[in-house]
Structures are given as structure tokens and as C-alpha cells.
């Protein structure tokens, strides 16, 4: 099965979209080789603006471009771009300026650079802004379609992408529908709701759990906002128990979004798995996913703890 970093899928599809729509402009803050916006920059230098290490200015300039009718994609690491929160809050969300915000290097999956370069609170930040659509794709095809959706929809949006390679979880005839969760594995004992980099690990975990007699379903939540209330309630009722899995702080991210839905509906029990009110650290991607139990074995152990209780 193919693997790719979702930031790479982004760079490739942005290049394609740039050829179809002259209104697309791209801004980066000295990370174009890492966010992969460089592919667009090399082909369309006239529509690429290198802003230097000045994320706040990049967001504001993106807002002006959007208000003037352009379709700006502004790119940096998730932590740095969403770190300029009030600028996004006022110049983008409150202004309803259709800026497409791209945050790569999601979570501990980035590895060795450590906490200061890891986006670990960004979903919570972006989710809390009115008018903001928040997307986190799980694989190549989903990323391509999500980015295309962003280009085609004149609304403020945020997409969160991985540095590390992820395995495909969707087939070649997959269709991305904004706001609609995707069932990847059917299950009857518990539903794993995952997003982003850990999704394929969740699929692998379901396979391992099956061998141990636990029927775990896997649902991919690629749109964090608007969250798929209907699907969350449906799967919670079906299996009675849900566990969210994400490479993000459990406060603010998918875990919180699902908790809000289930607290209001009472449709089922919930456990949240991810970084538990913690910062990240340095290490290889593999070592960190092991330590923080986001790889398949880790997810299995977390699920089994729920059943052992």
C-alpha cells in the first residue's frame, strides 16, 4: 500500500490547482521546502510571495489578498501560523476573509525537532473560531480532494498536514465530502474515531484487536469543524463506547469535539487518547508514537485497558 506525507500531497495538488485557477496565490514564511509550497513557487513565481519569517504579517497580507478576490493559501508549520491567533481571529475569521490556512508538521509525528516545532494545540485554536472550517486529512487521496475543496470554497479554512509518511486508508474511488465522517472498518464492541496521522495505525490496531476477540470499528473524522454530529451519535449508539485517537492535545482537538457531541446527546461513553495535556519532545517518529501509544500496538493497549476495567 502506498505511503506519502500529506504535506507532499498538498504540494502536488496545489501545483495542479494553480494551473487551473489563476486566482490562486500562495504565501510562505521561509518554510516552502518543508510545507512543499515550493512546487507552486517554482512553477508560478509571479503568484508566490515569500514573506520571510513573519507569520503574523503573512496572515494579514493573506487577508487583504482574499478580500480583494484572490484565493490565498498561506503556509507554515501548524504551530507557527496558528500561534498568531489574534491575527487569524480578527483579520481572517471575523473578517470572513477566505484565507486558506495550511499548517504542516502536525503533532509529535514530526519527530526530532521537538516540541517547539510541533503543532499540538492548533485544532483547538482553529475550532474555536466562528466561520472557520477545520480539516485534517488522513492520506494522499483525501488530502488532494480536501485541498481542492478549499480552493473551490470561498470561506476561511484551516488544514492540518503531516510531515511523516502515512499509509493510504482510502481506495482509489474515494470521494471526500466536507463534514462527513468515513467508516473505514465496521465494528460492534467499540468505535475508534481517529483523525490525521494516526488513522492508519487505528486501522492496523482494529486488525490486531480482532484477533484478540474485540470488534473495533474505525471511523475517520477528517472534518473537525463542522463536526459530523449525526455520525458520532450513530456510532456511539451502535457500539456504546467511543475512543478518539489523535496526534494532538486531548484538550481542544478531536477528543473535545466528540466529547461536546456526546455530552449533549448522551449517545455513548467516551475515552480520549492523544497527548494528555502534555507538550511534545524530541525523538524519532517511531519512538515517539511508541512512547505516546499512537502506533497500532499502543492503540491496542489503550483499547484493551478500557475493556479490562
Amino acid at each position: 500500500m502506498a505511503t506519502t506525507a500529506t504535506r507532499k500531497s498538498f504540494g502536488q495538488v496545489l501545483l495542479e490547482l494553480g494551473g487551473k485557477d489563476e486566482n490562486i496565490v500562495v504565501l510562505d514564511a521561509d518554510l516552502s521546502k518543508s510545507t512543499m509550497s515550493k512546487m507552486f513557487a517554482d512553477k508560478y513565481p509571479g503568484r508566490f510571495f515569500e514573506m520571510g519569517i513573519s507569520e503574523a504579517n503573512m496572515i494579514g497580507v493573506g487577508s487583504g489578498l482574499a478580500l480583494a478576490g484572490k484565493k490565498p493559501f498561506i503556509c507554515s508549520f501548524a504551530c507557527f501560523v496558528t500561534g498568531r491567533y489574534d491575527t487569524i481571529r480578527i483579520s481572517v475569521a471575523y473578517s470572513e476573509a477566505p484565507v486558506r490556512i495550511v499548517g504542516t508538521h502536525a503533532g509529535i509525528g514530526i519527530g526530532e525537532d521537538g516540541n517547539s516545532q510541533m503543532g499540538l494545540e492548533d485544532l483547538g485554536l482553529m475550532r474555536g473560531l466562528p466561520h472557520m472550517t477545520v480539516i485534517q486529512p488522513a492520506d494522499d487521496i483525501e488530502t488532494r480532494q480536501a485541498v481542492t475543496w478549499m480552493a473551490e470554497n470561498d470561506v476561511p479554512s484551516y488544514i492540518r498536514l503531516t510531515r511523516q509518511n502515512v499509509k493510504d486508508v482510502n481506495g482509489p474511488d474515494y470521494t471526500f465530502k466536507i463534514g462527513k465522517a468515513v467508516e473505514l472498518v465496521p465494528g460492534s464492541d467499540i468505535t475508534i474515531m481517529a483523525t490525521g496521522g494516526p488513522v492508519y495505525h487505528a486501522v492496523d490496531a482494529a486488525g490486531l484487536l480482532k484477533k484478540q476477540g474485540i470488534s473495533a470499528g474505525v471511523v475517520n473524522i477528517h472534518t473537525i469543524k463542522p463536526i459530523d454530529v449525526e455520525a458520532i451519535n450513530k456510532y456511539a449508539k451502535l457500539t456504546g463506547h467511543v475512543i478518539t485517537v489523535e496526534d494532538h492535545n486531548t484538550i481542544g482537538g478531536l477528543g473535545s469535539a466528540v466529547a461536546e457531541v456526546l455530552a449533549e446527546s448522551g449517545a455513548g461513553k467516551l475515552n480520549r487518547h492523544g497527548l494528555k495535556d502534555a507538550f511534545g519532545e524530541s525523538g524519532t517518529y517511531q519512538d515517539l508514537y511508541k512512547k505516546y501509544r499512537l502506533d497500532a500496538e499502543g492503540i491496542v493497549s489503550v483499547v484493551k485497558e478500557i475493556f479490562d476495567k
Binding site: 521561509d30 520571510g52 526530532e112 516540541n115
Partner: protein, 274 residues
């Protein structure tokens, strides 16, 4: 009054620190050689002579404070401090591995001895101003030093800090620019031009000194001059070479954030006389 120092000892400290940087990055298989090598003499001048500090008493109350605002250059500081017996040199090889004190970017909680957690560019100079204000409140108890990068100088917060230090007359603060002319997407002059740098800082109210950032004597003289200036902070524009000391890295953007492999490290270590 200038204190005497042993320039040969300081040069040796710089050479040994460069060797440790290369070994660390090779072991970690990742990290930032360019900006770690360009800053070495600045760190050696400070930690090897200028600053008041004690490796046996890292919490010494009136120690001078140092903030590495360009946090990705931390291997350079880990190395210089190891050579001054803050921690065993062998421990440096755990750089960037799970549970290591030697994180990819400075972590003051995991590694006591560091004065600030940085790595998100643009924040360190403001923290240094906070230390300098506190020092003033405590009757000028210590001096404060902060190294920033030229790419980093594109951050708005740097200029907010630049505006505020002269207002508070922080003559106990020195900001050193590691002017190595490179960042990630290219040369600073192409990514987002900064010149005329000295004029900008002068206009903001700083005492500005230009030095060769690889000349330890010149650096020390500049720090002494800074200490004699009253009523305003000092900005030292240190002209440096990215990747200094390793011929095939010098001046090349591509060595910003890539570790040397085994062969490259061997070559680098040979050049450094390891």
C-alpha cells in the same frame, strides 16, 4: 578595566565545540549545522570569558543571563557548555532522542542551565528584556545577553523588543546578531532584505558595534565597550559565515538543517583537527 584572558584557550574551546557539534549532529542524524557553527565564537567569548557564571552553581543568584533566541542553534551552546563542564560530553550524543535532556531546541525545564525555552523564532529578545528589567529592579545585579538570527530578525516581535529596550534604558542588555546571511528558503537579502541593519538599530536607540563574529578578541572588546555604555542597550552586529569551520558547509543554505552523514562527518572532523 579589561581583564586578561588566554586567547589560545578560547580558540581551542571554539575548535573543540565545533567538533562536538559535528559529532552530535551525526549521531542524531538531524539538526542545524549552519547556524550552530556560525555562532561558536560569540558563545565562546561570552561563556569562556565575558559572562559571570558558575557550572558548579547553575542557580547562582547574580549570574549573567544568556538567551539563545535562535533556538535551533542549540547544539553550539550544548557543546560550549559541555566543554565548560556543565555536563559530560558523552551525554551530548543523546541529542534529539526520546527522554534526552538535549532536546532539538532549548528546553529550560529539562536542562537546568539554560535560561529560556526557545525554538519558535522571534521570542528570545523579549525574554532577555524581562531579565534585564528584573536585574535593574535588583540594583543591576547581572547583565543579559541574547543571540538572534538574521532570518529571525524578520519577526515583528524582534522589532517590538528593539523598540522597548531603549525606552527602559537597558544598558545591562546586549543583543548579538549572528549575521550569517542565510536562512532556509535562501539568502536573507532575497527572502526579506534587512539592510541597512546597523542604521535600523541605531535609529531605534541602540548603541551599535560591528565586529568580525569569528574574531574572539574583537568580540570581547565589543562586550567590554557595551559594559561601559550608560543609558542604552547595545546591539552587536557580528559578521559571520554560516557553517563556519567546515569547508563544504561554509556559506551554503543547504546546510541549514541537514546533519552530516558518516563520511561527511569524518571529513568535517578531519578539517577541524579532531
Amino acid at each position: 578595566m579589561a581583564q586578561c584572558y588566554d586567547i589560545e584557550y578560547l580558540r581551542e574551546l571554539a575548535r573543540q565545540s565545533r567538533i562536538d557539534v559535528i559529532k552530535m549532529l551525526e549521531a542524531a542524524k538531524s539538526g542545524h549545522p549552519g547556524g550552530s557553527l556560525s555562532e561558536i565564537e560569540i558563545l565562546v567569548a561570552l561563556y569562556g570569558h565575558v559572562m559571570k557564571h558558575d557550572n558548579d552553581n547553575i542557580n547562582m543568584k547574580d549570574r549573567d543571563r544568556f538567551v539563545l533566541s535562535k533556538g535551533h542553534g542549540i547544539p553550539g551552546l550544548y557543546a560550549v557548555m559541555a566543554n565548560l563542564d556543565y555536563w559530560p560530553r558523552e551525554d551530548l550524543l543523546s541529542l534529539r532522542t526520546v527522554n534526552s535532556r538535549f532536546q532539538g531546541h532549548p528546553d529550560r525545564v529539562r536542562l537546568p542551565g539554560l535560561e529560556a525555552s526557545t525554538g519558535s523564532l522571534g521570542q528570545g529578545l523579549s525574554i532577555a528584556i524581562g531579565y534585564a528589567l528584573a536585574s535593574k529592579l535588583d540594583n543591576d545585579a547581572y547583565r543579559v545577553y541574547c543571540v538572534i538570527g538574521d532570518g529571525e530578525s524578520q519577526e515583528g516581535q524582534i522589532w517590538e523588543a528593539a523598540l522597548s529596550a531603549p525606552k527602559f534604558k537597558l544598558d545591562n542588555l546586549v543583543c548579538i546578531l549572528d549575521y550569517n546571511k542565510g536562512q532556509i528558503d535562501g539568502f536573507v537579502k532575497d527572502v526579506m532584505p534587512l539592510e541597512p541593519i546597523a542604521d535600523k538599530w541605531k535609529a531605534f536607540g541602540w548603541h551599535v558595534i560591528k565586529v568580525d563574529g569569528h574574531d574572539i578578541d574583537e568580540l570581547i572588546r565589543a562586550f567590554e565597550e557595551a559594559a561601559s555604555i550608560k543609558g542604552k542597550p547595545t546591539f552587536i552586529l557580528a559578521d559571520t559565515v554560516k557553517g563556519k569551520g567546515v569547508s563544504f558547509m561554509e556559506g551554503l543554505i543547504d546546510w541549514h538543517g541537514v546533519a552530516p552523514n558518516k563520511e561527511e562527518a569524518e571529513q568535517a572532523l578531519k578539517e577541524l583537527g579532531a
